[in-house]
C-alpha cells in the first residue's frame, strides 16, 4: 500500500473510532477523547522532533509538560496581594540570588577550573539563598494555607499561558541541554528523566510558587462555563431548537471550543514541523541522527543543532502541557507520573512511526484513544470470558473482582498487536 493512502486510511480510522465513540457512547466522551488526543498529538510531535528527527533520547517529557502546567498558574491565576505583601519581593530576590550563585559558579568553573572554589561558592551561595528564601517562603505559605498559601500568578488571559508554557519549557530545556546534551543516548535518557523528576519535586514542594501538592483548582478558562451557558436564554433556545437539552448542548459547546483551539495549535505546529523537516534543515538533522561524527566532519555544528532541536521539542511539550492544564482546569503536581507523561508519549511516537510527523500525530490520537477505551474494552472482554463459566464459581468471582486489572492488560495486548503488525510504526519514516 502506498504511504499516502495508508496515512489517509489510518487517520480515517482514528476519525471513525472517535465518531463511533460519539454514536455508541456519547459525543461528550468522543470530544473528551478528541481533546486530549489533540494535546497528546502535540506532545508526540515534540518528542518526534527530538527523537525521530534528531535522535535525542529525551525521557524528561513529563518535566516539560509539568512546566507548561506551571505556566498556566503563573500566567492566569490572579495574584494574591496578601501573599505578595507578606514576602513576594523577598522571594523574588531569593530567586535572583539563586540564579546568580549558579551563574557565578558556572563562570568560575569555566574560567578557573578550580573545583574547590566552585564548591565553596556553591555552599556559601546556598546558605545565602536559604537565608533570603526561608523567611519569605514561610510568610507566603502562612497566608490562608487552605485557600491560597502561594503568590498566585499574573492574572493574564489563560491563552497567553500556552506560549508562556512553551517559553518556560524552552528555558529549562536550554539549561538542561547546555549541561546534558553531550551525553550518549541512554545516559541522556536517565539524565533527562532525573531532571524531570527534579522539576516535579520542585513543583510539589515549593508551595509558595505552585501551591505544591495542595493543587491549584479552578483555573481560568478560555471558553465559557457550562453553567453560564445553561443560564443564557439565547443559548438554551438555540440548543432546544437543535433538539438538544441545554446541559448536553453546553458541555458539547465548551468541548468543541477546546477542540477547535487545540486543533488550530496542532495544525500550525504540524505545518511548521513538516516544512522544517522537508528542507535542508531536516536533511541535516537526519544526517546528524545517522552519524554525528561524520556530520561534524561535514561542517555541521552538532552541539548547537542538538540544543536547538531539544529546546524546540521541549517547548512544544511545554505548550501542550499548558493546554492540558487549561483543559483540566487545575494543576495537580502529583499526577505527573513518568509512565503517563513520558513513556506513554513515547509509545505514541514509536507506534505512530518515529521520524514521521504525521505518524506522531496519528500515534498520539490513537494511543490516547485506547488508553481511555481499554477500560470498557477490558471489561467487555472479561464479561465475554466469564460468560461461559458457571455462576458463583470461584474462578468467575475472582476474575470479575479483578476486572479492573484488565485495563492495563488490554492496553498491553493492543500495544503488542499494533507493533506486531507494523514493527516500524504505523507510518514509518519512509
Amino acid at each position: 500500500m502506498n504511504q499516502s493512502l495508508k496515512t489517509v486510511l489510518l487517520f480515517a480510522l482514528v476519525a471513525a473510532l472517535i465518531l463511533f465513540t460519539g454514536f455508541y457512547q456519547s459525543w461528550n466522551t468522543a470530544l473528551v477523547i478528541l481533546n486530549m488526543g489533540l494535546v497528546s498529538a502535540i506532545m508526540s510531535l515534540g518528542v518526534n522532533l527530538q527523537w525521530g528527527i534528531a535522535g535525542l533520547f529525551n525521557v524528561g517529557v513529563m518535566g516539560f509538560v509539568a512546566l507548561g502546567g506551571l505556566a498556566v498558574v503563573l500566567t492566569s491565576v490572579s495574584p494574591v496581594p496578601e501573599a505578595w505583601a507578606a514576602g513576594g519581593p523577598r522571594a523574588l530576590l531569593a530567586l535572583v540570588v539563586g540564579t546568580a550563585v549558579i551563574a557565578v559558579s558556572a563562570m568560575l568553573w569555566k574560567r578557573s577550573r578550580k573545583g574547590w572554589l566552585v564548591v565553596l561558592v556553591l555552599i556559601a551561595g546556598f546558605f545565602l539563598y536559604r537565608w533570603v528564601r526561608d523567611d519569605a517562603v514561610n510568610a507566603i505559605e502562612a497566608v490562608n494555607p487552605a485557600g491560597t498559601g502561594f503568590l498566585g500568578g499574573l492574572g493574564l488571559p489563560v491563552v497567553l499561558a500556552w506560549p508562556m508554557g512553551g517559553l518556560l519549557a524552552a528555558g529549562a530545556a536550554w539549561v538542561i541541554g547546555k549541561t546534558a546534551l553531550g551525553l550518549r543516548s541512554d545516559y541522556l535518557a536517565i539524565a533527562t528523566l532525573g531532571i524531570s523528576e527534579i522539576i516535579i519535586a520542585i513543583m510539589k514542594n515549593e508551595e509558595w510558587l505552585s501551591r505544591g501538592v495542595k493543587n491549584v483548582n479552578g483555573l481560568p478558562r478560555p471558553v465559557p462555563y457550562e453553567t453560564a451557558l445553561q443560564a443564557d436564554p439565547t443559548f438554551v433556545e438555540r440548543a432546544v431548537g437543535l433538539g438538544l437539552d441545554p446541559a448536553t448542548a453546553s458541555t458539547i459547546y465548551v468541548k468543541l471550543g477546546y477542540s477547535l483551539m487545540f486543533a488550530a495549535v496542532l495544525i500550525v505546529l504540524l505545518v511548521l514541523a513538516q516544512l522544517a523537516l522537508n528542507s535542508p534543515w531536516g536533511r541535516m538533522m537526519r544526517a546528524i541522527r545517522d552519524n554525528e561524527v561524520s556530520a561534524r566532519a561535514m561542517g555541521k555544528d552538532v552541539t548547537y543543532r542538538h540544543l536547538q532541536v531539544f529546546v524546540l521539542g521541549s517547548a512544544i511539550c511545554g505548550i501542550a502541557g499548558a493546554m492540558m492544564t487549561t483543559l483540566d482546569g487545575q494543576l495537580t503536581p502529583t499526577t505527573y507520573q513518568p509512565l503517563r507523561y513520558t513513556f506513554l508519549i513515547w509509545v505514541m511516537v514509536i507506534v505512530g512511526g518515529s521520524g514521521n510527523n504525521l505518524g506522531a500525530v496519528l500515534g498520539g490520537m490513537l494511543i490516547w484513544f485506547f488508553w481511555v477505551q481499554v477500560e470498557p474494552l477490558g471489561q467487555a472482554f472479561m464479561t465475554l470470558l466469564t460468560a461461559g463459566m458457571s455462576d458463583g464459581s470461584w474462578l468467575k468471582g475472582h476474575l470479575l473482582d479483578s476486572v479492573q486489572h484488565m485495563r492495563l492488560l488490554t492496553m498491553g495486548v493492543i500495544l503488542l498487536l499494533v507493533l506486531r503488525f507494523s514493527p516500524r510504526g504505523l507510518l514509518p519514516e519512509r
Binding site: N217, G329, T335, P376, R407
Partner: protein, 375 residues
Amino acid sequence: ESHMSEVKIGIILGFTGPIESITPAMADSAELALTEVNDSGMFLDGIKLVPVRADSTCVDAAAATAAAERLVTSEGVVAIMGADCSGVTGAVLSNVAVPNGIPMVSPSATSPALSTAEDNGLFFRTAPSDARQGAVIAEILKEKGISSVAVTYTNNDYGKGLADAFAENFDGEVTLSAPHDDGKADYSAEIGALASAGGDALAVFGYTDQGGKGMIQASYDTGAFDMYIMGDGMYGDTLFSEQSDALEGSIGTSPWAQGEGAEMFDKVAGDAGIDAASSYTRESYDAAALIALAMAKGGEATSEAVAANLMDVANAPGEPILPGELGKALEILKDGGDIDYVGASGVELIGEGEAAGSYRYYTVTDGAAETVEFK
C-alpha cells in the same frame, strides 16, 4: 415509567494505581448499599440501581476525567459515588460533574481545599475534612501529655492538608515535618532525618498499605521511634496485626461513628464477605446509601433529586437509620416521613461538601485497634 426501571450510579475509584489495594473493598461496600436498596423492593416503584465502576487511577486527573465523562455521558449515570483521592476528585468535579449537573458523593476525599471548591451544590462527602481531624489529633496529644512529635505525611493534598491542620492546632513542638512519597522503594532517608530531629512520637499521616506503612516499618527496623500517632489513612487491621510489635501502644484516629452504626456495618459487611475493617468502607457504604435515599426522598431517580435532597436525608430531623436499615428508611420516605441517615460512619453533613462526623480514638494493643473514645 417502565423504561426507567434501571438507573445507573457511577462508582469512580482508583482501582489501579497507588491505592489500588483499598478500593475494591470500598467499591464492594458501596455496591452493598445499592444491593440492599434494590433487594428491599421499596425503592421508587421497583427501579433498580445499577452500579457502574470506573477507574480514577487516584493520580491521573486526565484519565479520571475521561472515565467520569464516559460514565456520565455514555453510561448515563445520574450520580457518582467517588472519587477517592482528593486530587482527581477535584478534577472530576469541575470537569464533569458541575458541567453536567451530576452530584458526587466522595467517601474519602478529605482535603480541606474541597470545602471551598466551586461545586454548584453538587459535591458532598461522607468523610470529614482533615481540618477537623488535625484538631482532634492535637487535642488527643495534649491530653496524653505528648509535647514534641515528628511528623511524616504522604506527599499529596490529603497528607499535606492534614499535617498543616495538625501543626496549626498542636501546642507542642513539631520537630520535623517530612513528607514521604507513596509506593516508593525505600524510606530510610525519611526515617533517618526524622530520628535525628527526635520527638516523643512519630505522627504518620499516610496510607495504611503505602508509604505510611513503609515509614513505620523503617522506623521499627532502626528503632527510631517507639510510638506512633496515626491519621485516618493509616487505619487498617492488616497493618496493626502485621506490625503489632512496632505499633504496640500507638494511637490513632479514624472517621468513625460511635457504637451501633459501625457495629451494624461490620455485621452487614461481614455477611456479604466484605472486609469491613479496610479504610473508607463505611464512608463508601454511606455515600452510596445517601445517593439512593436522596432519590427516594425526591421521589425520582434523577441527579436533581440527589443534589436537592442529600443534605436533607443525611441530617436530622428524622428517624436515625443504620446500615442494614435502608429498607426501613425507604419505607419511611415512601410514606412521606423524615429520616436522619446515620449509617456506618455517623454521617452528619454540615454545609455543602462538608461532613462533620466523629473520630474514633484508638490505641493499638496486641495487634488490634482498641477504642479509647469517640471525639
